[in-house]
Symmetry: C2
Subunit: 694 residues, 2 copies
Amino acid sequence: MSEPKENVLMEKIVSLCKRRGFVYQSSEIYGGIQGFWDYGPLGAELKRNVKELWWSTMTRLRDDVVGLEATIIMAPQIWRASGHVDTFADMMRECPLTKRRVRADQVEPQSGIAFRYTGAVSKSHYLLLEAGLLDERFAGLPPFQSEHYAESFLTSGIPEKLFGGISTADTTALIHKYCQQLQSDSGKKASDTNVTSYLDLRSGKGWPWDGPAFEYYWSVAVEAILKGAVPFSVLLSSGKPPESARKVAREFFEKHGIKDPILIGESTEKLENSVDFHPESGVRLSEARPFNLMFKTYVGPVESEDGIAYLRPETAQAIFAQFKNVLETSRQKVPFGIAQTGKAFRNEVTPRNFTFRSREFEQMELEFFIKPDEAVEVIAGSVATPKGAGHPGEPEANWGWQLWHQYWVEERIKFYEGIGLPRVNDKGEKLLEEYWQKPEELAHYARACVDILFKFPFGTQELEGIAARSDFDLSQHERFSGKSMGVFDEELRTAWTKLDDAKKKDVSERYYQARLKYLTKVGVEQAKAEKDAKEDAEGLAKGQYIPHVIEPSAGVDRLILALVANAYSELTSTDDKGKSETRVVMKFHPRVAPIKVGIFPLLKNKPEIVAKAKEIFASLRTQMMAFYDDGGAIGRRYARQDEAGTPYCVTVDFDTLGENPELLNTVTIRHRDDGRQERLPIAELAGWLQARIR
Amino acid sequence: MSEPKENVLMEKIVSLCKRRGFVYQSSEIYGGIQGFWDYGPLGAELKRNVKELWWSTMTRLRDDVVGLEATIIMAPQIWRASGHVDTFADMMRECPLTKRRVRADQVEPQSGIAFRYTGAVSKSHYLLLEAGLLDERFAGLPPFQSEHYAESFLTSGIPEKLFGGISTADTTALIHKYCQQLQSDSGKKASDTNVTSYLDLRSGKGWPWDGPAFEYYWSVAVEAILKGAVPFSVLLSSGKPPESARKVAREFFEKHGIKDPILIGESTEKLENSVDFHPESGVRLSEARPFNLMFKTYVGPVESEDGIAYLRPETAQAIFAQFKNVLETSRQKVPFGIAQTGKAFRNEVTPRNFTFRSREFEQMELEFFIKPDEAVEVIAGSVATPKGAGHPGEPEANWGWQLWHQYWVEERIKFYEGIGLPRVNDKGEKLLEEYWQKPEELAHYARACVDILFKFPFGTQELEGIAARSDFDLSQHERFSGKSMGVFDEELRTAWTKLDDAKKKDVSERYYQARLKYLTKVGVEQAKAEKDAKEDAEGLAKGQYIPHVIEPSAGVDRLILALVANAYSELTSTDDKGKSETRVVMKFHPRVAPIKVGIFPLLKNKPEIVAKAKEIFASLRTQMMAFYDDGGAIGRRYARQDEAGTPYCVTVDFDTLGENPELLNTVTIRHRDDGRQERLPIAELAGWLQARIR
């Protein structure tokens, strides 16, 4: 049972993040906004460092990846092609009163008395119902006059006790009953003549003014009454007065458009641990429906269907949409990748775990486009098979999707290791884990997907996913946009001509089957799917194909949180008087640490020392984030930098000035993690630091 | 008349941007989305360089500015406090048919025949109007029976010729007329008795079934008819048949909820150059109304008023909202600044000029917080006054808002100069201009605002605004959030005690007046404003105040466009055969150029040369964006890099390998702008380049 301890750790981390300006709650002065977090001065630097390292690792230091920076709002068709409009949803149930939604699988069980109603009518219609005049048996008759009676009854004040459920009793008897009631209760005249002429009417003897006006108003009345025929239930915890249930029900029906609602058909039931009621309002939830997680807005001067747009829920799709443009303008050939970082938005129902699952977050995504295995086979003779676990080395021409996938899994882990998140840390704790999704967990188009998991204080959770997505994405955009997403591969075309017929037939058939599988899975009608797949197979023989893709997709914010959690450590020291003090040391890897070096004059009031410290500061800050501090004792200054996660502190002292001539123009460098100090010539300082922070 | 030439230049720039992967239209394969642009591989690098330079200039290289990275979606109260919910709007006119909006000040003049209608009724109501039964003179009478008649008339098919405008003629006469018409035209019985009993009713003789049902249906009818009482006009260009105007009008009224509309009160007028009609639909526009430019969405599981949120229209407000958090966690004291870059969104009605005015864009904003002048005066004895134009030098303790404002204007221009956008370029052309907003152009709270303008191909337009915004922003957030935005200034408190009473009274009074002016301007009721201003003045004496702010606010995308436009140049060369070729050279400043250096082996098929070139490439790319190219003749490779804006190209040749022993391990560096070449030892290369690109 390590949970309580872990919660304490998360609390400490959240508190440290606020105290030192790593992370603040967004809009805090207005009570915050759930699922949104801001990065303060240190957090912003940390995040910049992480993104910059990812970008340079992915693009600048590679020959085969280029960058892209697309907009957050894109044409909505993109999200139809990607499937997000139709399927990017959680199953949700809604409280029909407050419109609040809960995840269908996360409703808290509740007990009490359920008050149920079959519906409600407005006062101006209830008598029609009471009299059974809206019974379908009489739908063919002109009913205006009976309504007229009914309305009269209302204004003459029939006692409440007469109102109940929808009557199915004999209509004629009811009419008589009410007319008599009217006479005896209010003394107002409702002559037998009137009742008789009504009955004449009902029996088909006719009435002088039948016609379309009757039907028009009749339909208005029916519509208004049908509107109220909505079942509603609310759960009362035992002991609460029934009237409070009725109040809620009336509130619901009023909101629903029933003026002065009279409740119909009340019944009650005792329930234990029901998961059908909203935990706050107590109202029975709607059936589970998919609730799309994309934030919606309207672009342009018209707020209509035409203008609907979404905040991107992932950065990946822009890469697919711009694939052809990048291919044509960047001198790249498949295999190559397009990298992008940027904000994405998901209207998470329950944002949680600090910045781990938030509604606005940043992604770092690479789409690495590769040849289909059939093309590799034609060009290289055969497709290489993975030789066990570990990094498969430098890419080769005979790599199919499996080796490329393995390659990217290992490359990404190498990246994490390079910023201080190894598979296993110094203490032997498992920090990173690979989780290979099981076949039944994969999307239909995915060949494989590996999640890189990190041991967060609240549990082991996904840091990055590396998916082999086949040619699904580009194929979808080709189908939805009508623009070709295929590439022409000269090598393939040449190699194809050298195959013997049996091989040609074999490869063709396999490619045909793969394309056919995709086309039928996405719902293309069989005959067309076969025709298209045949064309695709013929295209392959001419050197054409739609690239497949490997997608390493990482979340910046959860990586920041992983780095913060991993860096967090406490140091307890006891002074001479036996008084012990615990302080925080943030052991960030120097490559990601927000501040790289602190520069301190030993004493604030020695101008030569101060001048020299400032000179060093001025020269270092042009190359890296440096911090000058002359406030308080050196120990205090070290402690402040430890808490900020600064890996190195440089102190200028009397020796620097030559008090000990051997140490002239040297400084002390103090290491954050073990407090170790060493002496270094000023001239070597920048190089020494650069070697460690790059 | 330089416009045509300038349009040509913009076309060339847009084309180059797409061709070389600087800027693509967002979602291009889906036909694009207006006002959104993506940055391709070179554009993304260019943009990163600009942002990185801004960030390091503003934060890393300064002691008095720290960074922030806040969310795009924040609590909606922020936009109430800032005034964006109420006033961030363009005046717009809407086409009532298509709901398309146009800027009120940008309607194209049009001429033709205007067809006007006073309204329309549905077929099922028009006879009521015809008969004058809805005339206000008879509003008090129970009219059900007349409707009944009217509906009967309808079904019996009264000829079209009787329909016209709303009649004001005598009702009784009309009823008689229609009844007679009915008799003679259709042969159906409408007995004189019926007409008589109706007239009896109108004359007050009573009717047996008056009552609430009448009134209910009567009101339904009146509501339906009033709904159609909406004037509508459409402009036809001369020669078009009137029926096409009627068709549009009927379409409008149908959309408006009038079933089978009969148009009422048609009239026509000839118009010249009217600005009242929508340029596409021809429909008369609504009155101008403010149209908020913020994109709206809903956060959380409820799509209701509670969940409304906006995409930030500027990054500035997050800085104000987090001011206190940053102040408390960063060890800064006023004067200091908070810098932020990030996306912002404005639903521009007419995005235009390529990326200059787009709907999704990026900002680089600094909020620099300063002491109110009254505090400076108390602390420093007096407030320094600006000594003419130009940079006022390093900040001093006696600077008030004017000098700080001037300082930031000059700092920002220095920044632009540092990336190749000087006030005046080599050719003597004025590139940057300062525009001091006139007092009547300023917002009520602004003390001054300077726009830095750049000479774009489409005109001289704003690149950045530097506003002195008084203490308006923090004061607003204090009022709206109820959280103090004030700071405590020890220096001020100490200095105050040393003032004589007259001075105290004088400063107090001035501060009181300034605060009172703010409070009354934002609508605080006079008595409360006086009370609050008095408290603020008393606070000042205790060292408390709300900081004032200077805001240099720059747009990344328009700066990129300025850099691209400024870099764009064409080089025409003529070969031996007299054939001339024009190619593009992008003369980016080395600090912003996407690729810093191209590295070429002279020949692709000499392994030693290739190996050496690759070695140099491998070493340089760890420090800067480098590009290796071995394709085609050296001239072609230079040309490709010229078009990408790469300032330097390095060629490895036989001399590098020692063919000429004196040149062993040297390379040729070729300068983009003048084609000049020089020889440099490989060992010096990195340093040589670093000195130029930093």
